[in-house]
């Protein structure tokens, strides 16, 4: 360990920068926006941020689980499209059955990912690439590539529903975040997932059924992706298999990385991911509101990811 590492770790009043880095960056971005962005400090703005961050937030919760198990899931965007298309196609038989169909198809796709990874020991990146490409094709096939719209269907009310002015998405987010938090820190399954991510062989030899758990991990990731897709579909009154969830995997992975979950597996930082997702969305919003070209938001995201990786590297080095 060198002096440089030591000086970086306790950055602000003993708060470890690597652990709370995402929260600190988020607060900084909020303050900067409050000063420089016109009309930023308003309730409407906050509402917007929370609504827009919704899909990234939900998907990155699943991604946190996957990455802390030592894997990665780049099929989440396509799974969103498949779930949305399956749901929209079946709205005729009722809202509830359609939601169940959408979620189930998503979960089956995720379990398929997990099965291939556990059974054939193929790298998760490659396995999930299959459905990233193929899933998008299946979603488009479901409605011959056309957007499925349903502006007058009662299903649209779900996405617009609010309780005392707070959009339903906020409650769903809180519920999902709390569930994943409890899963990862208070439930045995969470311990097993992180143990697998930290040392697969030792976990296997301790009697953990790594095969079964790998399937659960990817099924969970797909479940959250499908859940996000359902609310998005309802909010925008249509399911567009071509664009829904496109590049979602990248934003979700970025959120997890920025949030401080170890990219090599073993340690989930659920709260870090929450701030990671907020940061990713906040960048997009600030760039939009300041009339800066969209491309700059991509570059800015890249810079933030590099910064997060840089900090993480110090953490792993510092503890060895």
């Amino acid at each position: 360990m060198n002096g440089k590492t030591l000086s970086l770790k306790p950055a602000v009043n003993g708060i470890s920068f690597s652990k709370h880095g995402a929260a600190i960056i988020f607060i900084l971005l909020m303050i900067l926006n409050g000063i420089f962005t016109p009309n930023f400090a308003s309730l409407g703005m906050l509402r917007n941020l929370l609504l827009q961050v919704f899909p990234i937030m939900i998907v990155s919760m699943g991604m946190t689980i996957v990455i802390s198990s030592g894997g990665i899931d780049i099929s989440v965007g396509s799974i969103m499209a498949v779930a949305a298309a399956a749901l929209a196609k079946n709205l005729g038989i009722g809202i509830f059955p359609a939601i169940v169909i959408g979620l189930s198809i998503g979960v089956v796709f995720g379990a398929f990912n997990g099965f291939l990874i556990a059974k054939f020991k193929i790298q998760p990146m490659i396995v999930t690439l299959i459905l990233m490409v193929g899933g998008r094709g299946i979603a488009q096939q479901l409605n011959n590539g056309y957007v499925i719209s349903f502006y007058d269907h009662p299903f649209v009310e779900l996405g617009l529903y609010s309780i005392s002015g707070i959009p339903i998405q906020v409650f769903v987010m809180l519920l999902v975040i709390a569930s994943v938090f409890i899963l990862m820190y208070y439930m045995v399954l969470g311990k097993y997932i992180q143990a697998i991510g930290d040392n697969l062989r030792a976990s296997e030899l301790s009697g953990i059924k790594t095969f079964k758990i790998t399937i659960i991990i990817y099924a969970l990731s797909a479940f959250f992706a499908s859940l996000a897709a359902i609310f998005e579909t309802s909010r925008i009154c249509s399911a567009d298999p071509n664009t829904l969830g496109r590049f979602m995997e990248l934003d979700a992975i970025a959120a997890v990385a920025v949030g401080g979950t170890s990219m090599t597996g073993g340690k989930a930082n659920v709260i870090g991911t929450v701030f990671g997702a907020l940061i990713i969305q906040l960048i997009t919003i600030s760039v939009n509101m300041n009339n800066i070209n969209y491309y700059y938001s991509l570059i800015l995201k890249a810079v933030i990811i590099i910064a997060a990786m840089y900090l993480q590297q110090f953490r792993t080095k510092g503890t060895k």
Binding site: V188, D198, A202, S203, L205, G207, K209
Partner: protein, 509 residues
């Protein structure tokens, strides 16, 4: 000109905290097959790595063919005439045999076009010289492991080698393939090429080698013509015990014949590593597994724990036949396994001491998927106290603990399961003396509580000291069992030698 091809004199090499080689002399004659013997950590691989340019020596001289040399990298060593065939072959599976042989050195015509005909003819000839007729356009991955070795060898020889270093070439070969390899080695010898042949299998050393050099703890112990040394002598030189000099520090004999049998394994076979092993263990008994490296000790343990599946044989626990397909099956049946690879297969480095201790027994403290942190801490603190694990607290990540304390945590993980049977594979390797004696005591107290123990150790003295009975393995077979009065280091050595001799006779028949 001397008849020595290679003279390494006074070679030393130090790594932080370890003197890996201490003033070692190592000579190889022209056209001989020479072996370098020693247990793990003896300095074998360090010496080979210095010779082949992977490490550089701290002091000493290396002379090849009378010329001083000091290879700084593998290419320099190759250029000087030393070729190495590594354990892991560095060949490319998707290229043809011929392409592999000429990779990077393809003959080209004046337009830069590769002369394929020449490559095929030359490769075919080179392999024929070694007594192998094969279509050189076959892909490497489609041929057997032995032929792959030969391809590596041809590649090595084509760079005009005087000395071929073979590090464990037989580890992945079956009996027939080994025969092919030996034919080739004899062929090389006739051509005046020297071979440095490394193998854990004693029978191979005695079959193919002319001379042997023995290292122990980084020092030269001896050098001898193979026909002048007996197997017993070789083994005792390797492990550093003269059979007479060992003061027996034996465990008091206990009569187990009245105790119930806990586990019976019959005819356990798996590939070439295990050949029909029978073993039974009674309740509270400590049974040792003795044998040299590669004798099948760890492989047997893995089968008993369900981590590997035996091709043949059956296992009974408490008189009932069990099918162990996964470690979880073994755990349900009360079996625990403490791996020799603490880092790779034991600890979950970034998890706390508490999580590491309860990892295998979470189900005991879990209801509806939620585990009780209170119970987890109770269990953890109990074992921290009982095994005197030195840690700042239950929540400390295990990677910050010392090796001995990590080992205690892993033992606690298995004790927390309340097992009936624990397999301990080298439980005291790499930990300091203090922790060693504590773990010694712990093993005995587990046995006193009625837990059956299978103890694997390469230190025979420790086996004699701790075990009620010792089963001796040799190249995948059980060659004897010793207990009570008969049990001594001397007797273990004799049993290994006898097993070896029996095998030789069997082979000559």
């Amino acid at each position: 000109m001397s008849d020595f091809l290679l003279k390494m004199t006074g070679v030393s090499k130090e790594f932080p905290g370890v003197k890996a080689l201490n003033n070692v002399d190592f000579y190889i004659r022209k056209g001989e097959v020479h072996s370098l013997m020693g247990e793990n950590g003896a300095g074998k691989s360090t010496l080979i790595k210095i010779l082949t340019g992977i490490y550089t020596k701290d002091s000493g001289t290396i002379e090849l063919n009378g010329r001083q040399m000091s290879p700084q990298n593998v290419l320099e060593a190759q250029a000087a005439g030393i070729s190495t065939i590594f354990q892991e072959l560095n060949l490319i599976p998707d290229l043809s045999i011929a392409e592999n042989i000429f990779l990077g050195r393809e003959p080209k015509d004046r337009f830069g076009k590769i002369q394929w005909k020449k490559i095929y003819v030359k490769s075919t000839e080179a392999l024929k010289d070694l007594g192998i007729n094969i279509d050189v356009q076959l892909k490497l991955k489609d041929i057997g492991a032995a032929i792959q070795q030969m391809v590596a060898l041809v590649r090595a020889l084509d760079i005009n080698a005087n000395l071929v270093v073979m590090d464990e070439p037989t580890s992945s070969l079956d009996d027939n393939e080994v025969k092919v390899l030996f034919k080739v080695i004899r062929n090389l010898k006739e051509r005046g090429v020297s071979v440095l042949f490394i193998s854990h299998r004693l029978s191979e050393i005695f079959e193919i080698c002319d001379r042997v050099t023995i290292l122990r703890d980084g020092k030269l112990v001896g050098e001898s013509l193979i026909r002048d040394i007996s197997h017993g002598e070789l083994i005792s030189k390797m492990i550093g015990k003269d059979s007479e000099s060992i003061v027996s520090n034996k465990k008091k004999a206990i009569d187990f014949s009245t105790k119930e049998t806990y586990l019976t394994a019959n005819g356990i076979s798996s590939g070439i590593m295990l050949k029909g092993i029978d073993l039974s263990i009674r309740k509270g008994e400590i049974v040792g597994l003795a044998g040299l490296l590669g004798s099948g000790r760890t492989e047997l343990a893995r089968v008993l724990f369900g981590d590997d599946q035996a091709a043949n044989g059956k296992i009974e626990i408490n008189g009932k036949k069990v099918s162990l397909k996964h470690p979880a099956d073994a755990i349900i049946n009360g079996v625990a396994f403490c791996s020799e690879e603490r880092k790779a297969e034991g600890i979950i480095p970034n998890m706390s001491v508490a999580d590491n201790i309860t990892l295998a027994s979470f189900s005991d403290i879990t209801r509806f998927g939620f585990f009780s942190r209170k119970k987890q801490l109770q269990i953890t603190n109990k074992y921290i106290k009982q095994l005197s694990i030195k840690t700042p607290g239950a929540n400390r990540e295990i990677k910050f603990l010392s090796g001995g304390n990590q080992q205690k945590v892993i033992l606690a993980r298995w004790l927390a399961l309340k097992p009936d049977f624990i397999i301990l594979d080298e439980p005291t390797r790499g930990i300091d003396v203090g922790a060693k004696s504590e773990i010694d005591k712990l093993i005995q107290s587990m046995a006193n509580e009625g837990i059956s123990i299978l103890l694997i150790s390469s230190e025979m003295e420790e086996l004699v000291k701790r075990c009620d009975r010792v089963a001796v393995l040799y190249e995948g077979e059980k060659v004897g069992e010793l207990q009570g009065e008969e049990l001594s280091v001397d007797a273990i050595l004799h049993t290994i030698t006898a097993g070896h001799n029996r095998k030789l006779q069997g082979a000559n028949k």
